[in-house]
C-alpha cells in the first residue's frame, strides 16, 4: 500500500504535484491524465529519484527513498535505462545480486516466457529495438525481490502485439503478490488495472475503486485528492475546465 500525504512538488512557479492525501492499494493501479498532470513526478518521488518540495510518500510504512523502501520498490522508467555493456541476462543477474539474490527467480522465468523474450537474453541493449528495450527494462526491474513495481508509461512505443504481451506480463506480476502502479495513456492497460487514478494539474481529480484515501481536509480547499470519493471531480478542477462541478 502506498500512502501519499500532503505531497507537493514545485518547479519554480509551476506546481507539478499537490496531493493532500492519497492511498494506493495493492493490485494494479493506472495513473492517468494529460501530459504534465504529475503522473511521472509522483512515480519518481515514490521511487526515491525525486525529492519532493514537501510531504511524504510511504510504501508499506517505509519512507520513499529510504533503504527499507528501496528493498520493496522497483521502477521502470519511460526511457529504458540499461547497462550497455552487459547482456540482458547478465543485467538481470547483476541486479538480482545487488539485492541479495543469487539469480533471478522463477517469476522472472515466467515473465520471460510471457514476453517471449528468450532471444533477447544474450543480447546487449545496443542491439535491441525500442520495444525490445522496453521489455528488457521490465525484466531487469523484476529480476530482484520486490513488492511494488512502478512503471512510467511502460507501453509507449510498443506495437499492438507487444503491448498486449506487456500488459499481460504486468498483470501476471499481481498474481505473484506484486503491486503494479503505472502511469499510462494506454486504454488496454487502464482497462486491465484494478484501480484508476486520474490526475490533472498535479492533483487527484478522480480515484476509482480502492484508490481514494480518507479525507483529512474536509473543506477541500487544498489537496483536492483528499476530498474525493470515487467518481467525483473537484470543484477547482471543474472550474478550471469551465464545467459545472456537479456534472
Amino acid at each position: 500500500m502506498i500512502v501519499v500525504d500532503k505531497l507537493r512538488m514545485v518547479y519554480g512557479k509551476s506546481v507539478a504535484v499537490d496531493i493532500e492525501h492519497l492511498v494506493i492499494e495493492a493490485g494494479t493501479t493506472a495513473l492517468v491524465g494529460h501530459n504534465g498532470a504529475g503522473k511521472s513526478t509522483l512515480l519518481l518521488i515514490a521511487t526515491g529519484l525525486l525529492r519532493p518540495t514537501g510531504g511524504t510518500v510511504d510504501i508499506d510504512g517505509r519512507r520513499a527513498g529510504s533503504i527499507a523502501a528501496r528493498e520493496l520498490v522497483s521502477f521502470v522508467p519511460d526511457q529504458p535505462s540499461l547497462f550497455d555493456d552487459l547482456t540482458l541476462w547478465d543485467q538481470m543477474v547483476y541486479v538480482a545480486r545487488l539485492h541479495g539474490s543469487a539469480e533471478p527467480g522463477a517469476s522472472s522465468m515466467h515473465l520471460i516466457e510471457t514476453l517471449d523474450a528468450f532471444e533477447l537474453l544474450e543480447r546487449f541493449p545496443t542491439a535491441m529495438s525500442k520495444g525490445q528495450r522496453q521489455k528488457a527494462s521490465l525484466l531487469v526491474a523484476t529480476a530482484r525481490p520486490l513488492a511494488v513495481l512502478l512503471a512510467d508509461e511502460p507501453t509507449t512505443g510498443l506495437d499492438a502485439e507487444a503491448k498486449t504481451a506487456f500488459v499481460e506480463a504486468l498483470s501476471s506480476l499481481v498474481e505473484q503478490g506484486i503491486s503494479v502502479v503505472s502511469s499510462t495513456h494506454d486504454d488496454e492497460l487502464i482497462e486491465r488495472s484494478t484501480n484508476s487514478i486520474r490526475l490533472a494539474g498535479g492533483r487527484v481529480i478522480q480515484a476509482d475503486d480502492a484508490a481514494a484515501g480518507p479525507p483529512p481536509d474536509p473543506d477541500g480547499s487544498s489537496g483536492v485528492g483528499s476530498t474525493l470519493k470515487p467518481g467525483e471531480r473537484s470543484d477547482r478542477w471543474a472550474r478550471r475546465k469551465g464545467a459545472d462541478p456537479t456534472d
Binding site: I67, A68, E71, S81, D90, V93, V95, L98, H99
Partner: protein, 472 residues
C-alpha cells in the same frame, strides 16, 4: 568479449572519456605548446612556485566541481539499479570517488611531467621531479574529496551542510594561506599540510557520501544521456539545453537556458563525431599512425617534448583499447557480482593493446633505426609504456575496494588488489620520473632508468591481466 567489442556503441565510461580528452591534450600540448616554455619558469623554485599556485587553484576549484554535480559520473542505469539498491549510498559511491581520485592523481602527475618538459628546467633532477609529482597528486586527491562535500553543500538538504562547507573552506584556506606565505608545497611543511588536507577532505567526503542527493544524480545522468542522444542527431540546441540542465536542473526549454551565442557549436559538432564505434576507432588508429610518422619525420625524438608526445599517443591508444573493459569495471561491485569470468577477456584486451603498440612502435623503430638504433629502441619502449600505462589506468576502478571491504572486511582484501588500486598513481609517478629523469635531465647518479621502465611495463602487464571477479 565485453560490450564495447561485441556491441560497439556510443557509450564510453564518462571518466574514461575525461581521461581520453586529457590524453589528447597531453599529446597536443607538447607538440603545439612550445611557446609555454617562454612563460614557465626554468628554475626549480620558480617552477615549484607556479605549481603551488596551480595546486591552490585546483583545490579551490573543487567548489565549482561540486556545484556542477560533484566528481561522480554515473549513468541512469547506475543510479536506478545501484544507488537504489538496498545498501548505503556510501557503499555505492565510495568506489566511484576512489576511482576518480586515483585517476585525477595520476593525471596530476602526468601534467607535471608535461609542464616540466615545457619549462626547460635544466636544474631539475630526480628528487625535484618526484616531489612536484607528489604535490600534484595530493592536490588532486584533496580536490576530489572536497568536491564531494561541495556537492552536498550546494545540492543536498542535510543539516550538516554548514559544517561540511566550513571544513572545505578551511582546507582551501590552509593551502592558499601556505602558498601566500611563500611556503613551498613541495617542502616538508607543505607536503605535511597537504597530507593533513587529504585526510581531512577524505573524512568529510566519506561523511558526505551518505548525504549525496540521489535525485540530483538522476537528473544529471538523464540530462547527460539526453545530451549524448542530441549530439548524435546534431540537435545542438538540445545539446546545450541538456548540458545546462545537467548543471542547474532548469526544466525544459526557456529563454534562459537555450544556446548562448558565444558557445562554439563547432566544438559540439566535433564531439558529436566522436562516436565510439569501430569506424571511430579505425579513424583514431589512422590518426595515431599518421601523427607518429609525422613527428618522427619532422622532429627529433631525442627531444624530451617529442618523446612525451609519442608516449602520449600510446596513452591515448591504450585508453581507447581499454575502454570496453574499463567501462564495465566502473560499475559498482563488479568484482563481487559480475556474472562472467573476466580473465580471458582481459588477456585478449591487453594483447590487443600490446599488438597495436607494437605496430605503431615498429614504425618508430623502422624509421629511426637506420639513423640511431638507441633512439629507435627507446622510442619503442616509451610507446609500449604509455600504452600499457593507459590500459592499466583504465581499470583503476576495478577493485571496488569499498564494496570488497564492506563484504569481506579490510582483511579480505589481498595485497594484489590494494597494489592494483594504487598502481595508477604509482605508474604516473614513475612516468614522471622516467621521462624527466631519463629524457630531459640526465641523472648525475647514472640511475638505471631503463630497468625502471621494464619493471613498470611488467607491472602493468600483471595488473592488466589480473582477473576481476571474486575468487570463490
Amino acid at each position: 568479449m565485453l560490450s564495447g567489442m561485441a556491441a560497439p556503441g556510443k557509450k564510453l565510461s564518462d571518466d574514461l572519456y575525461s581521461l581520453y580528452l586529457a590524453g589528447i591534450a597531453w599529446l597536443l600540448l607538447p607538440v603545439y605548446g612550445n611557446g609555454l616554455a617562454v612563460v614557465l619558469p626554468s628554475d626549480v623554485s620558480g617552477f615549484e612556485r607556479t605549481l603551488d599556485v596551480m595546486a591552490a587553484v585546483v583545490i579551490a576549484g573543487s567548489a565549482w566541481i561540486g556545484f556542477r554535480g560533484g566528481p561522480f559520473l554515473i549513468n541512469r542505469a547506475g543510479v536506478l539499479h545501484e544507488l537504489l539498491s538496498p545498501r548505503r549510498l556510501r557503499t555505492s559511491l565510495l568506489p566511484r570517488m576512489l576511482r576518480q581520485g586515483v585517476a585525477y592523481a595520476a593525471l596530476g602527475a602526468i601534467a607535471v611531467t608535461v609542464l616540466l618538459a615545457m619549462s626547460d628546467a635544466e636544474s631539475f633532477g630526480f628528487a625535484e621531479a618526484a616531489r612536484s609529482s607528489v604535490v600534484a597528486m595530493l592536490a588532486m586527491l584533496v580536490s576530489v574529496g572536497c568536491a564531494v562535500g561541495w556537492l552536498v553543500v550546494f545540492k543536498g538538504v542535510s543539516r550538516h551542510r554548514g559544517v561540511i562547507g566550513v571544513v572545505n573552506l578551511i582546507v582551501a584556506a590552509l593551502v592558499a594561506g601556505l602558498v601566500a606565505a611563500g611556503v613551498s608545497l613541495a617542502s616538508g611543511t607543505g607536503l605535511g599540510v597537504l597530507g593533513i588536507c587529504v585526510v581531512g577532505s577524505t573524512i568529510v567526503a566519506m561523511i558526505s557520501l551518505d548525504l549525496v542527493p540521489v535525485d540530483h544524480l538522476w537528473r544529471r545522468a538523464s540530462a547527460l544521456e539526453d545530451m549524448r542522444s542530441a549530439m548524435l542527431s546534431f540537435d545542438f540546441q538540445q545539446v546545450l539545453v541538456s548540458l545546462r540542465r545537467a548543471i542547474d536542473h532548469t526544466e525544459g526549454r526557456s529563454k534562459a537556458n537555450v544556446a548562448r551565442p558565444w558557445m562554439p557549436l563547432q566544438l559540439w559538432r566535433y564531439l558529436a563525431s566522436v562516436e565510439h564505434g569501430w569506424h571511430a576507432r579505425l579513424g583514431q588508429f589512422v590518426i595515431a599512425v599518421t601523427a607518429t610518422a609525422m613527428i618522427l619525420v619532422w622532429t627529433d625524438p631525442a627531444d624530451g617534448i617529442i618523446a612525451l608526445a609519442i608516449a602520449g599517443i600510446g596513452f591515448v591508444v591504450g585508453i581507447e583499447l581499454s575502454s570496453p573493459v574499463a567501462s564495465t569495471t566502473g560499475q559498482l561491485v563488479f568484482l563481487v557480482h559480475y556474472p562472467r569470468p573476466s580473465a580471458s577477456i582481459l588477456r585478449r584486451q591487453t594483447a590487443t593493446a600490446v599488438a597495436l603498440a607494437l605496430v605503431l612502435g615498429s614504425i618508430a623503430v623502422g624509421w629511426k633505426i637506420a639513423i640511431d638504433p638507441a633512439i629507435g629502441i627507446s622510442v619503442l619502449g616509451l610507446f609500449v609504456f604509455g600504452t600499457l600505462a593507459a590500459a592499466a589506468q583504465g581499470r583503476l576502478g576495478s577493485p571496488d575496494l569499498a564494496q570488497m571491504a564492506s563484504i569481506l572486511g579490510p582483511g579480505g582484501l589481498g595485497p594484489a588488489l590494494w597494489a592494483r588500486a594504487l598502481f595508477g598513481p604509482m605508474m604516473a609517478l614513475a612516468l614522471t620520473i622516467v621521462v624527466s629523469h631519463g629524457w630531459l635531465h640526465p641523472d648525475p647518479l647514472n640511475a638505471p632508468w631503463e630497468t625502471l621502465v621494464m619493471l613498470v611495463v611488467l607491472g602493468a602487464a600483471v595488473v592488466a591481466t589480473y582477473p576481476l571477479e571474486k575468487r570463490s
